[in-house]
């Protein structure tokens, strides 16, 4: 973006009105800075009682117990990381594949509608995903769980695991033993998060793949490469960095995703015990508990989760933008 080499000669009238305009625009634009600073200040102020009481222990203690006023965020942090990373791992190959389909395989009449459908997927509100997961996918999982408990030998396994869970322990085998009947839990949260972050990765990947110079492709085709060889050796390596940026951006979304997860994860504050049982994320705890939190320390602890989420998202988004800005020719996001 280049400005005229020399600014237009300033006349008496225009220079003062120009300055006024600049000040007004700058003042309005500065509201952005204000919102950012106010957010930090608000969250920090409200978190202060909990941080003062627990200090770093807030992030290393497991128990989250409003009754005896002891709050440690380990299980929510774990829940947030596990759901987000699992959703990421499942969604990335799918997203890249759909991006390849739109950019490389589909004829134009099909590529546009499919690309548009994927964009609409990003526009579906979180509550609607939550509603769908609750009414459509949860019953499917629930049927499987009930089938599990209908087998006598499996019930013995469950009882053994239940003992372990009550002692705050678990084993790899128990991780796949359901602890609920209603389908809600970690697995459902991961499924719905996967669907929700797919379009972000997919649209970034598509844009980056489209930026791959045509020469790259043509050179390989000229050497007699198949379509897949062109994709795997010329396109994907070239687009790798940009796709990575999109993946991290999707991670940022997943970390902060609230209501869909809050509705389906089962809201259990125990440390991760079963894939098919209740869990919680930082965002889901804020949604589920802030309204009811009457005690000062409980309320403050919930806001501390918000503050942590704030810094986590800022860091993740910053890294994503850094990668995208540095490694793609033009800022495409």
């Amino acid at each position: 973006m280049s400005e005229p080499a020399k600014p237009a000669p300033r006349r008496g009238l225009s220079s003062r009105s120009d300055r006024t305009f600049e000040v007004v625009i700058l003042a309005l634009a500065s509201v952005i800075v204000l919102v950012f600073l106010t957010s930090i200040w608000q969250l920090a102020k409200e978190s202060w009682p909990a941080l003062q009481q627990f200090g770093w222990r807030f992030f290393t203690e497991r128990t989250w117990n409003p009754v005896n006023n002891s709050f440690g965020a380990v299980s929510m942090i774990t829940g947030t990381l596990v759901t987000s990373l699992a959703a990421l791992v499942i969604s990335v190959p799918l997203a890249i594949a759909s991006a390849l389909f739109v950019a490389e395989y589909a004829p134009k009449w099909l590529a546009n509608p499919v690309g548009y459908l994927i964009e609409l997927l990003a526009a579906v509100p979180s509550v609607v995903y939550g509603l769908w997961a609750l009414f459509v996918i949860a019953p499917i999982l629930s049927r499987w769980e009930q089938g599990f408990f209908a087998q006598p030998d499996k019930v013995a396994t469950y009882t053994a695991c239940k003992n372990l869970w009550d002692q705050g322990q678990t084993t790899l085998q128990c991780f796949f033993v359901p602890s609920t009947f209603d389908g809600r839990g970690l697995a459902l949260a991961i499924i719905i998060l996967t669907v929700m972050i797919l379009p972000y990765t997919a649209s970034v990947a598509r844009d980056v793949i489209r930026l791959v110079p045509a020469d790259q492709r043509e050179a390989m085709y000229a050497l007699g490469a198949t379509k897949w060889e062109v994709i795997s050796r010329a396109i994907l390596p070239y687009a790798r960095a940009g796709i990575m940026g999109g993946v991290i951006l999707a991670l940022g979304r997943a970390l902060g995703e609230t209501l869909a997860v809050a509705m389906v994860i089962g809201d259990s504050q125990e440390l991760l015990k079963s894939l098919f049982g209740g869990a919680s994320t930082m965002a889901s705890v804020i949604a589920n508990q802030f309204g009811d939190a009457q005690e000062r320390l409980h309320r403050s602890s919930v806001v501390t989760l918000g503050l942590s989420l704030f810094f986590l998202s800022v860091a993740v988004n910053y890294v994503a933008r850094l990668i995208i800005a540095r490694l793609t020719p033009k800022g495409i996001l």
Binding site: V35, G130, G291, F310
Partner: protein
Amino acid sequence: MSAATPARANAPTRLSPARRAQNLIMGALILVATLVVVAPLVLIFIYLLREGLGAMNADFFTKVPAPEGETGGGLLNAITGSVQMLLMASVIGVLVGVSGGIFLSEYPRHPLMPSIRMLSDVLAGIPAIVMGLVAYGLIVLQFGFSGFAGALALGFLMIPIVVRTSEEVLKLVPQTVREAGLALGLPKWLVTLRIVLPAAAGGIITGIMLALARVAGEAAPLLFTAFGNPNVNLDPGKPMSALPLEIYRGATSAYDENQRLAKAGALLLISLIFVTSLLARRFSRRR
């Protein structure tokens, strides 16, 4: 490897079966993966059409939810609440967002430009629920739950989307247009307001529509700001309902009737969002 048969000139004769199979298999996998990606959208839409369309009668648009356990009622409280809060949020989102876009594109040498650009990007990544906590601290602690508090949270969420889209379209306006205006002796502010801004208006409106569509579906930041209201409320100083809030309450409710309203509300909400995004797309393409 099989010998090449030069008889068929254009056929991929030099391809070994292994390479050809790999190519076909990967192509098929990509097609299947794409279907898997698109499937949820189709499934959600069909599900909501089947479950919610029947509930979208006249009552749905003219009545408030019936008391728990009773049948009938509609979501008039949520519809009016959403409209009011979105209007209020747009005031913040558009004023600050468009100004931010103008600042970033028209004053690229300003010393504050990089930090405002970065903070606007950072704001885009902050989870909506955290914005709800912020609006709670700013408004609700002093004045109680209100439509205004909800609108503030939504307005904050709109800002980065509007900034980014308006900056981008303003930059698309050719530099020569600005120079022509300045050459005519117009001051920079008039060139910006009367020439550059109108030239980019289509794209800016698209950005505003996309931002509205985005925040119209947010329930998380409204949970403890607007809070919800079983009655129609036209006073922004009082608790107010919104479509996503009623969807959330209904979906997690044990009553069939509330669930039915939630499904119809979800159908209405995503239809509105889809139409808005479609229109926004049309609008930006015609430019």
